[in-house]
């Protein structure tokens, strides 16, 4: 104990500061105690977790989570919805694209706790039971992928691209799909798949 107390403990400072404000749902006295007693990381962490409720593919998840967890990591690591991929983790590739309240976003650059009260749709939530979404079917028909790593992001982005009204011609599709990088270069086939769904005129 002596030795530990001799060195400044950032966690302890942090927890003490935490206790000064009330906006986060943690019990201040418990937090201070945890810091003073040098409790192990995991316990202290549990105290700092933030309550949060997100509807994912129609199911409401109410949880307390570490604020550092991105929406992407929540989906993949906690909820095991591994359809959404992590390509870069920095907003540069689009592999992590999901819909939040109907809008396509990069789930790697938003904290899960920032999505409290929102509705998230991932690639797992796109099909209607065993019936593929028209965009999924079109990607298969047009060979819109090779390795498939970018595909869930491409499909989520493509659906939004049509819904937004940004799929009127090839040039517009390429511009508004530029946030989804395909290392295999399946672009011509991806564009063809989107054009077919768009021409099909279905309300997707």
């Amino acid at each position: 104990m002596e030795k530990e107390n001799a060195t400044p403990n950032p966690r302890r400072d942090f927890l003490k500061k935490s206790s000064l404000i009330t906006a986060v749902a943690l019990t201040p006295t418990a937090a201070i105690k945890a810091a003073d007693n040098q409790l192990d990381e995991r316990i202290a962490q549990a105290i700092e977790n933030v309550p949060c409720s997100i509807e994912i593919n129609g199911t409401k998840h109410t949880m307390k989570i570490d604020p550092r967890i991105t929406l992407l990591d929540l989906l993949r690591e906690r909820l095991h919805l591994t359809g959404t991929k992590k390509g870069c983790d920095y907003g540069q590739c689009g592999a992590c694209t999901v819909h939040v309240d109907g809008q396509r976003v990069n789930s790697c650059l938003t904290l899960a706790v920032m999505n409290d009260g929102k509705k998230v749709t991932t690639i797992e939530g796109l099909a209607n039971g065993s019936e593929l979404h028209p965009m999924q079917a079109a990607f298969i028909k047009h060979d819109g992928f090779q390795c498939g790593y970018c595909t869930p992001g491409q499909i989520m982005s493509a659906v939004a691209c049509i819904r937004e009204g940004h799929a009127d011609n090839e040039g517009e599709i390429r511009e508004f799909m530029s946030g989804n990088i395909c290392r295999c270069g399946a672009y011509p086939n991806i564009v063809a798949a989107i054009q077919e769904v768009k021409k099909g005129g279905k309300n997707i």
Partner: protein, 325 residues
């Protein structure tokens, strides 16, 4: 990511007091720049004040011009009917930035405050005065292809990476802010600063001040174009960009507005070049002359010497496209 405390603020007042209490606190809006930098340990706030639940998303026309809430999304602004019609420079600049997904997350306030994309700023193993004051500038004699040709100092030669800022400065926008000491309005021209010997400061905004809105006076520009030159056609930062706006009476230029991006530590308004155009007939010669005036005082640092030629060419091209000659 380093540990931080997360606060979801429900009122402007609470947000400002939450930021004021903690010296190492930051607001978070879309998160697209801040979280990127936090993952890389370039920024390490101890408290994040989430402002997304504040009612700052409205876009409305006022008799003096346009009011855009700080939390309005880049995509919402770019698609807004009034903005597309009356302030096309802003819509075009926003659509030229990032990707559809990022524009759905990025806010106007966050875009104003986004940090430079200088690779050394991102690389915590290299010296960088902006990240760690006093350590030196790795770009000065390093890989500086993306860097400034105007207003740089040996302390920092980085550029402001935003497209939106270039349009906003051309449109004479103002930034409304609110802080513990009250509210104030900052002209876009004064909002971002040159590096001087304090490159760690991008803007004159105080740490505890919240951006609440951007306002733009009614525009009389009849001919507009935002031209962005980059390494690939989409989803890349500008090498050089130009916002060109003209009020034309027949072929006569009554008003000219010009600003450049990718060339300085702040969006770079070309006032002298604007003046040279006023009253002139639209012509390649007049545009060329304006570009020559704009380039006075430009300086390359090696890898970015190509901008000394690219920048004036981009000015002429943007004016040509805007005036449709």
């Amino acid at each position: 990511m380093k540990q931080f405390q997360y606060i979801r603020s429900v009122s402007q007042k609470a947000a400002i007091s939450a930021i004021t209490q903690e010296p190492k606190a930051k607001f978070v809006a879309g998160g697209t720049n801040l979280l990127d930098l936090m993952k890389r340990h370039v920024m390490t706030p101890e408290r994040l004040v989430d402002i997304n639940k504040l009612p700052l998303r409205d876009i409305k026309e006022e008799n003096k011009g346009l009011h855009i809430g700080a939390l309005a999304l880049n995509s919402t602004v770019a698609e807004h009917a009034t903005i597309v019609k009356k302030f096309p420079l802003l819509a075009e600049a926003l659509n030229a930035g990032a990707s559809a997904q990022l524009r759905n997350m990025a806010t106007v306030g966050g875009n104003l405050m986004q940090r430079t994309r200088c690779p050394y700023f991102y690389d915590t193993t290299t010296p960088c005065n902006k990240r760690e004051p006093g350590t030196g500038c790795s770009a000065l004699n390093g890989f500086n292809r993306m860097h400034a040709i105007f207003g740089a100092t040996p302390h920092c030669i980085a550029v402001n990476p935003s497209d939106m800022n270039v349009a906003l400065i051309a449109l004479d926008a103002s930034v409304q802010v609110s802080g513990p000491k009250g509210d104030r309005i900052i002209k876009m021209q004064d909002f971002h600063r040159l590096p001087g010997d304090q490159p760690e400061k991008d803007t004159i905004l105080d740490k505890n001040e919240l951006i609440t809105a951007v306002t733009i006076p009614a525009s009389t520009l009849t001919h507009n174009h935002y031209l962005k030159v980059r390494d690939r056609n989409s989803y890349a930062f500008a090498l050089v960009s130009v916002a060109a706006g003209l009020n034309l009476d027949g072929k006569t230029i009554k008003v000219a507005r010009l600003a450049m991006g990718g060339v300085a530590h702040k969006p770079w308004r070309l006032t002298a070049a604007e003046q040279s155009l006023q009253g002139k007939q639209v012509s390649i010669e007049a545009f060329q002359q304006a570009a020559d005036i704009a380039m006075q005082g430009a300086k390359g640092y090696g890898h970015n010497d190509f901008k000394l030629k690219l920048a004036p060419n981009t000015i002429v091209e943007a004016l040509k496209i805007a005036s449709r000659i």
